[in-house]
């Protein structure tokens, strides 16, 4: 029973949703579900927060290697939560001074925006910036002319890399007009519009079918591994 009921919930919910997209009256069902989902996800944050706290409290109580870092995580988590949920130091919106919590956490100079500007932004955007290093090391290692596939991969990347900077203009800009199609910047656009479009279209069509089949496997109750234990 513990698995049959959820399965039927999924089946009924799924088919109802499929139907709703064809019935003008129920067209907004998808949007309503988005709202419902966002709310459920926001409520479920309690579970995530619980898991986070539990991991680090256990590390602390066991004095595992690096438990000091758990103090940092827990402390920063609780302080940020406290400041944000209570809107510490946020004055009300001048348009609605009577509503105590009408101000936005993002007001300049607030503790919240300090956290955002001096902690979240540098930490996350530097993490993002690490990619510049990784594209270089990946290109060095992986772009080698081992076979036809690899040659196509690396030559295309090469054309686009050069075509997207001033170097492309310098290298091939002198090509006469009748051969302007072979200028690197034009070549890279041509590659985008023909080969890239073809590849992406096929991938998209494949994905659509894959999504449909995956969805139908769930809705027909064939694939129950998401409920756990495929064959059971």
């Amino acid at each position: 029973m513990k698995r049959i009921i959820p399965m039927w919930i999924a089946i009924i919910g799924g088919f109802a949703m499929m139907l709703s997209s064809f019935v003008p009256l129920a067209e907004s069902a998808g949007e309503m579900f988005a709202d419902v989902f966002n709310v459920v996800a926001a409520i479920a944050f309690v579970l995530g927060a619980g898991s986070l706290a539990k991991q680090h409290l256990e590390k602390l109580s066991r004095r595992d290697a690096g438990w000091g870092y758990s103090i940092i995580t827990l402390g920063s988590f609780l302080i940020t939560l406290f400041i944000g949920l209570l809107k510490i130091g946020i004055h009300p919106n001048p348009s609605f001074p009577q509503a105590a919590y009408s101000g936005s956490n993002d007001a300049e100079g607030s503790a919240w925006s300090w956290i955002y500007e001096y902690m979240i932004t540098p930490l996350t955007s530097t993490m993002f910036a690490l990619l510049a290093f990784f594209v270089a090391s990946a290109a060095f290692r992986a772009f080698r002319a081992k076979n036809t596939e690899a040659i196509l991969l690396l030559v295309t990347a090469f054309i686009v890399l050069l075509g997207r900077t001033f170097a492309g203009v310098v290298l091939t800009g002198w090509f006469p007009d009748w051969a302007s199609g072979l200028r690197l910047e034009n070549l890279s656009i041509y590659v985008m519009q023909v080969f890239n479009t073809a590849g992406n279209r096929a991938i998209m069509i494949g994905i659509a079918l894959g999504v449909a089949a995956t969805g139908l496997r769930i809705l027909f109750g064939i694939d129950r591994s998401w409920l756990g234990g495929g064959d059971a």
Binding site: E31, N93, S125, A132, S137, L154, R164, E185, I189
Partner: protein, 307 residues
Amino acid sequence: MSGGNVNSTNASARPWFERLDRVDRRWIFLLMFLAVSGPILWIGVTGKTLPEAPTLAARAVFQEINQLPARSLVLISFDYDPASAGELQPMATSLVRQCAAKNLRMVFIALWPLGSQVAQQTIQDVIRDDYPALKEGDDFVNMGYQAGNEAVMKLLLTDFAKAFPKDSRGEATSNIPILKDVKMVSQFPLLISVSAGYPGSKEWVQYVISAYNEKMNFVTGCTGVSAPQLYPYFPQQIAGLLGAIKGAAEYESMVNESLAVDGVATAPKYLQAQRRMGPQLVAHLLMVGLIIVGNVIFFARKRRGAA
């Protein structure tokens, strides 16, 4: 995380290409850092930028905005957050600047939670600093962020005020002069999205533009990573496309040229993208060099293996 190949015992016994192949990848990281920071320092000190030759897609963006009559409504969606600001902020700045200079009425929205803040910052930097005559509510308004991704777009098709019930100041939509007659999104002749991913340009095309292809024009600026997915839509659904910092630099140079006043140097904040093309060039050349070296190693080894 070391390169994993730091063992240097009997390294001298190996041929040169083996050693080069097993080079600690941290040397590559260092080269990349120098390739980016060197030009930044150089351009920062000398103030010189590289010339740009605008491509078709970037020229189209400029043209779409330029052809609108004054006081036209423009919907500008900030679908990115500070993490992508390095690439997209120069586009947003130049787009807002061209709209402000053309005296278009701008409505800012955000489908990314942090997009509203970025929009506010752009308004501050461009409109309040350089076009102080424009009044919030009459000439532009920031409607803030709405959760719901495509759902918001679909709602915009039928009911603007329901999708964005209040602006970022908390004013109800019905009280905002600029939006007084706006019922739905098709009343905007031009939609601009500065987009870093989902939801963004692709969803705008799928849910809004394909519904109103005749009435609405759509131009977009996007990150390098999403540009390949958008090229198939250009120029049918997407009238103009700025791809990555290169597109930003091309467009920026066009806007600067059109608004240039003799004898007055362009404010440095309007040269962001062109400044950033310097490190791009050197870093791209480094990447090209790395790929060449990688293949030289590969072929040298192959020949040795065959011999």
